[in-house]
């Protein structure tokens, strides 16, 4: 495999997954780029992750009394899954359909929604919107449980159109009202209370007697519409395809302006988005063809470092490099802490700030979050006994020359590229440590820390903040 191909595969796995260690890249070295894309969009080809060890050593995962440990489990899955795009799509839909734990404070529903995205995230737009409309967490978040035939509540109808499908400017206020009426009676089963024995699940309920059964006119069509009919109509609209494709482009290819600006700012790459829309629409909303096209496109292959990593990508990607939080938890490792790790970087998974979701791109970065990102990544390489670092050390062979140290390390943790200023600063450090012998145990013991320091400096760079 030549370096360019390797770099391209690494790029693909950073975007369609959460990065890859060198041994993971080697394990797919016999597959072409196109074959890897096929594998990614067909996660069912790979075994589901074994959570038994995780649950044995983090036993509170067996009940649903608090979301942070389940959010941490999600990051653990991002690190360890053999189906990276499954988790990445779940994260994608969580970004788009931002629903926060704090309102319902009902963990089974919070984690149930993510489970739903994991299952339907690669199916089609219609399926996903219908499942979403029936999801108790979303239903409560946007008040559809208060949407009664005699007293409609428009919140869900409005956000479905504005934030979840078509975007402002593509429907009227009256369409919002009509959509809301069509979703009257869509509610959920009252869950049993948390005390004294912990949470119980809820599920979707269609309350026919509370449904407005009269005629509605929505986006120019007239009929006695129910919620499914509204979604059918929405899915016929090009505006919906544009909205979804722009989200896909923004999440997987290149940072777009923040979403509220989309109604006034055109896409960065209109041709790319147009092509994606055509594929999505001609495949009746199926996502796999459009993802396949996107990952194989030139615009994707030329999009290196055009995205700022979101905190989940940074945390999961860095832990993949260090080899921590593996399938069998190390002593005392509690996945709940991963929730907090990403939260202090600005992404409290399962708890986005508002229904508009997270502001992404460079807005992930401020003084506090940069401090957290850098320190977290650096701290993963304080310990030279981590499996990931030992793997890197092993690959450096019996000696590494000072002049090669920067390139070899950049290669092994990516490959990634850095700018001239960064390279100069890293080279200065390489010169200071000089040539490093690694042939004997003593040499390795002495020089491992110096190499770990180089890795620490690399994961502290500006360039490392990009996916």
């Amino acid at each position: 495999m030549n370096t360019n191909e390797l770099a391209l595969k690494a790029h693909l796995l950073r975007r369609a997954g959460f990065g890859a260690s060198r041994s993971e890249l080697e394990s797919i070295s016999d597959k072409s780029y196109e074959e890897i894309v096929e594998d990614l969009v067909h996660p069912e080809r790979f075994e589901e992750i074994d959570e038994d060890y995780l649950k044995r050593y983090n036993p509170e995962l067996s009940y649903h009394d608090g979301h942070p440990i389940h959010a941490g489990r999600w990051i653990w899955r991002m690190i360890n899954t053999k189906r990276p795009l499954e988790e990445k799509m779940a994260l994608f839909w969580h970004h788009v359909f931002a629903t926060a734990h704090y309102k319902g404070d009902h963990t089974p529903s919070t984690i149930g929604q993510i489970e739903m995205f994991r299952e339907n995230g690669l199916t089609n737009i219609r399926q996903i919107l219908i499942d979403l409309s029936k999801d108790p967490h979303m239903n409560y978040w946007l008040d559809n449980c208060e949407n009664h035939s005699d007293q409609p509540n428009e919140n869900w109808g409005r956000e479905l159109l504005e934030l979840f499908s078509m975007g402002v400017g593509n429907y009227s206020e009256d369409d919002v009202k009509q959509a809301a009426r069509a979703f009257t009676g869509w509610t959920f089963e009252q869950p049993l209370p948390l005390y004294p024995y912990g949470h119980y699940e809820s599920k979707f309920v269609f309350n026919e007697s509370d449904h407005d059964n009269s005629e509605k006119t929505f986006l120019g069509r007239t009929g006695n519409f129910n919620g499914e009919d509204i979604i059918d109509i929405i899915c016929e609209e090009r505006a919906t395809a544009l909205f979804i494709c722009r989200h896909l482009y923004n999440f997987f290819v290149e940072d777009e302006p923040q979403i509220p600006a989309w109604s006034i700012e055109p896409p960065r790459n209109p041709e790319a988005v147009d092509a994606m829309i055509d594929i999505l629409m001609s495949n009746e909303g199926e996502l796999r063809p459009v993802l396949n096209y996107m990952f194989n496109s030139d615009f994707f292959k030329n999009s290196f470092y055009k995205k700022v990593k979101n905190p989940s990508e940074l945390v999961a990607g860095t832990l993949k490099l260090s080899g921590r939080y593996a399938v069998v938890p190390a002593e005392g490792e509690n996945v709940g802490t991963l929730y907090n790790t990403a939260a202090v970087m600005g992404q409290a998974l399962m708890n986005p700030p508002t229904v508009e979701g997270w502001h992404t791109g460079h807005e992930w970065i401020d003084g506090g979050t940069l401090n957290e990102r850098v320190n977290f990544a650096v701290n993963q390489f304080n310990d030279v006994s981590s499996p990931g670092f030992e793997d890197i050390l092993g690959r450096l062979g019996s000696a590494v020359k000072s002049v090669d140290l920067v390139d070899k390390c950049l290669d092994l943790i990516g490959p990634i590229e850095v700018g001239d200023e960064t390279r100069q600063a890293l080279s200065k450090y390489a010169e200071e440590v000089g040539d490093l012998e690694l042939s004997t145990d003593e040499d390795r013991a002495e020089n491992a820390k110096k190499i770990a320091r180089m890795i620490q400096l690399i994961v502290a760079t500006r360039e490392y903040q990009f996916a």
């Binding site: 038994d52 036993p59 009940y63 005390y195 004294p196 024995y197 912990g198 119980y200």
Partner: protein
């Protein structure tokens, strides 16, 4: 020691529920003092030993993070000293009933006498400690102050081999029964560590397991297995034949009742909910039996202890017809 020849099984009337969330939160094991009940808890709602009594009153906690990090099993001796395995620090920690640390032993490793994630633990007939050395895939016997006496088993899937063993017990004949967790079976070893038999395989059918976490044997030789991921406890008789499953019949504990009665909304929600859901087991971690034939299940995911009372008539050989070779339809 002899077992009754056969039993007339009347059943297992539900005896009582102890505990509630935030008191006996995430219970992993249970032990009994003269008056008090000690519940080992581990998880996001507290990692410690909770002390309650039979009136379900909360008497406070012992231990905690300063003594252990990943506690897996609890034993209470005749002086009410408490032994706790800590699978994060590869130790057995001993404290008195006031929570004072009195001993701690064990070090990480794979040599004989060393430990790698000690999990399940029980006393043998002499009062020595037998424990699952999970990551080493073996069982070890120690004196109470940590002197190694015996080691048997090795990692693997074959007969007598173990994959991440968890709970275990010693029956009245000195046999060691082990929840061979990752192999989805119970294995029986003789007192010298020789393999005797195995129960179960992977699955959800009767007699099958998904990650069994604990095993107990009562004075009739009946074997109880907490079938962790299947959310049930299964009962096998002394011949290792499947008898029945327990899925949970929880009633409200005293503290739980008090709690609900003081919360108007909780009362309303409970009045309208699917009541059956509130009774079932969720990730039962440990089963224990006492000499009064009470069955204790730490209902981990529901933060409570479910207790059944066995009701049987013991039969001698002359009080029951001999086994029949052929089935009969005429059964009046």
């Amino acid at each position: 020691m002899t077992l009754p020849f056969e039993l007339l099984r009347s059943g297992y009337p539900y005896y009582m529920t102890l505990g509630q969330r935030r008191v006996t939160s995430n219970p992993v094991d249970i032990g009994f003092g003269k008056e008090n009940v000690y519940v080992l808890t581990r998880g996001g709602l507290g990692t410690e030993v909770r002390v309650i009594n039979w009136e379900d009153e909360n008497l406070g906690t012992l231990g905690g993070a300063s003594l252990f990090q990943w506690p897996a099993a609890l034993l209470v001796d005749e002086d009410e000293n408490l032994y706790v395995t800590d699978e994060a620090n590869h130790k057995v920690v001993v404290m008195d009933k006031d929570g004072e640390l009195i001993d701690s032993w064990g070090e990480q490793g794979s040599e004989s006498g060393q430990l790698n994630r000690p999990s399940g633990m029980c006393f043998d007939l002499e009062g020595n400690i037998v424990l699952s050395d999970a990551m080493n895939g073996r069982i070890q016997r120690f004196t109470r102050d940590g002197k190694p006496l015996q080691v048997f088993g090795e990692s693997g899937e074959g007969e007598g081999q173990l994959n991440m063993p968890w709970g275990l017990t010693v029956d009245q004949f000195g046999d060691v029964l082990v929840a061979d967790w990752k192999n989805d079976r119970i294995q029986r070893f003789g007192p010298d560590g020789e393999f005797k038999s195995a129960i179960g395989s992977h699955g959800t059918e009767k007699g099958q397991f998904r990650r069994p976490s604990s095993v107990a044997v009562d004075g009739h030789g009946d074997i109880y297995v907490s079938d962790w991921q299947n959310d049930r406890v299964q009962l096998f008789n002394k011949d290792e034949r499947y008898i029945q499953s327990f899925h949970g019949n929880a009633s409200l504990s005293r503290s739980g009742k008090q709690y609900i009665l003081s919360n108007l909304v909780t009362l309303r929600l409970r009045a309208e909910g699917d009541f059956e859901k509130t009774q079932r087991l969720n990730a039962p971690m440990t089963v224990k039996v006492d000499d009064q034939f009470r069955l204790f299940i730490t209902d981990f995911g529901n933060h409570r202890i479910q207790i059944y009372q066995k009701d049987v008539v013991e039969l001698s050989e002359t009080e029951i017809a001999p086994k029949m070779r052929n089935p009969i339809l005429f059964t009046t």
